[in-house]
């Protein structure tokens, strides 16, 4: 149920305050140490951030998409890695369960996901299956006698895998193509499941990705999410939502960078005046602001459409394309406006520049978003 305006405003205000007072001062440290302090994660749990999108009856606060976007934008104002610590729990790591789970499965897992007691990951990508996610090779073979599926294969670049207690895994139960894929809830402690060391990444230090390997992992039949062959469809619906959420984060990050740019340009003096008085600097601020507002409007509109139950595959792809490319340009301009300081780590701008680069790659690359937009547009005739 949508919140009344006062409650919603207070919720966003609280998240913004937490971001300003607790998270922003830690950005440099998290960037250097590649780790978010546990006490901050615990505070996020207490605040209820891990349960934003989990229905109230399962211990979350069941925000609508439009409300969730408000939180995503507010969280975007700090290093994206901070959001990532609960990002899988409220997004790709839980939404398959929310959308396709049985009541029993939800009862079993969701309350602990909402509280943050369990960390979740979403395991779709594989060494040989990235953009072409329908071609996953991880196999799930039914052993009816034992009442289990036996999983074999490996997953790649899985966010939060090193901390995850529960994986949503897409694996092949049938023939080739997307229709042969099913999805499974796989607890980390099952024998045969192993997680690799976390990768060294370009940005978003503090959020980790690892390989996840399955070697004859026996997953109980009741852990299958939805019917056999529905896994890919579920994954795509999860990603529609995820793309929208990420777009909100992009908008928040752009807003933060614009604030930083304006602050720096107003203080920094060259040729006897603040550089903000030069039209070429103003143009960069103006373009950033206008593009960011446009992206925000699109994110908010798409979120409302989703809440109204409309089909949003095209909208989500367009929103993610626009928002992620926008924040890339804004971050590039921020480096430029800062001049030499934009390239020096102490100012944090180069870190943001590296951090936001990911948004054009995961949850579907920009090329894949364009393919979806083109496919859907050609289908409907324009």
């Amino acid at each position: 149920m949508p919140l009344d305006k006062d409650t919603y405003d207070q919720l966003i205000e609280t998240v913004s305050r937490f971001v300003t007072e607790r998270l922003r001062p830690l950005e440099g440290q998290v960037g250097d140490k590649d780790e978010i302090p546990q006490d901050v994660i615990d505070e996020m749990k207490e605040l209820g951030l891990f349960g934003l999108t989990i229905p109230e009856e399962y211990g979350g606060i069941g925000l609508t998409m439009a409300e969730e976007i408000g939180v995503a934008i507010a969280m975007g104002h700090t290093s994206p890695a901070m959001r990532s610590s609960f990002g899988t729990n409220i997004g790709i790591g839980s939404q398959g369960l929310v959308m396709a789970g049985t009541d029993e499965q939800k009862q079993k897992w969701l309350p602990r996901i909402a509280s943050g007691e369990l960390i979740t990951s979403f395991a779709l990508t594989e060494p040989d299956a990235g953009s072409d996610a329908g071609s996953v090779k991880t196999r799930a073979t039914l052993d009816e006698a034992k009442g289990v599926y036996r999983l074999n294969g490996s997953k790649r670049y899985i966010t939060n895998a090193d901390k995850a207690d529960l994986f949503t895994v897409m694996a092949r139960t049938g023939g080739e193509g997307a229709h042969g894929v099913s999805s499974f809830l796989v607890p980390r402690d099952l024998p045969g499941l192993s997680v690799g060391a976390h990768e060294k990444k370009m940005g978003q230090q503090g959020a980790h990705v690892c390989d996840v390997n399955f070697d004859d992992v026996e997953v109980p039949v009741e852990n299958r999410l939805g019917a056999e062959g529905e896994g890919f469809k579920v994954a795509m619906r999860v990603l529609d939502r995820g793309r929208l959420h990420i777009s909100g984060v992009c908008v928040g990050a752009a807003e933060r960078l614009i604030e930083d740019m304006v602050g720096y340009a107003s203080e920094r003096q060259q040729f006897g005046k603040p550089i903000s008085s030069f039209q070429m600097i103003q143009a960069q601020i103006a373009d950033s602001k206008a593009e960011c507002m446009a992206a925000r409007a699109l994110v908010e509109q798409t979120a409302r459409k989703r809440d109204a139950g409309e089909s949003i595959t095209l909208d989500c792809a367009a929103t993610k394309l626009i928002a992620s490319e926008m924040v890339g340009r804004v971050a590039d301009r921020a480096v430029q406006v800062y001049g030499g300081a934009g390239y020096i780590a102490d100012y944090g701008i180069e870190r943001f520049y590296r951090d936001v680069r990911l948004f054009r790659i995961y949850e579907g690359t920009s090329e894949i978003q364009r393919s979806i937009i083109a496919r859907e547009t050609l289908k409907t005739g324009g």
Partner: protein, 248 residues
Amino acid sequence: MKALVPVKRVIDYNVKPRVKSDGSGVDLANVKMSMNPFDEISVEEAIRLKEAGKIEEIIAVSVGPAKAQETLRTALAMGADRAILIETDETVEPLAVAKLLQKVAEEEQPGLIILGKQAIDDDANQTGQMLAALMDRPQGTFANTVELDSDSVTVKREIDGGLETVKLQLPAIITTDLRLNEPRYASLPNIMKAKKKPLDTKTPADYGVNIAPRLTTTNVSEPPVRQAGEKVEDVDALVTKLKALGIA
């Protein structure tokens, strides 16, 4: 035991206040407002006492415009049990607030009234003291530590040069200082639940209190812009300079 916690809606501490061009006051149009930070400390202290089982009910009260409801909702979301808004759009001076609080206290009979030592808008630092005087009850101002017993409360007070410990018979009035505690963030689920907690709306007239101001503000001005300093060669030059300025 009940605790009464007055909370004030003030300009947010992060906002740089601007004076109205006619000098009649601070411009509050479209300015972010929040709970007075010292009052957050009061709410937090009351909640901790409740969590420790020493207080049963926390009543938040605010005197101010309809929008002060938001401030009360914050107190409810943090953990207060119910709230009273005494609604008025007029400027209410500390004495009038103290008189209103006295009436609320007569109705509610709290064992403890915890106020912020001052509000960051007018910095008056008067309401708690005035309330204690009106009620003829003991006061522990600038609290650094609070220990509550069944019939008394021990307060360590921040004073120049250290801490002073006082023991007060209940009911008592406490005003909070900055180091008493670190207020919590209201959790998001509690923000949602706060809507369902009771919030009564009253007016100053309901309590028969005349809130007409006794002071007239004649002018409000920006603090003077800090002038650039001057470097001196050595201590002698410094002393000469200070003497010339009439400071030393």
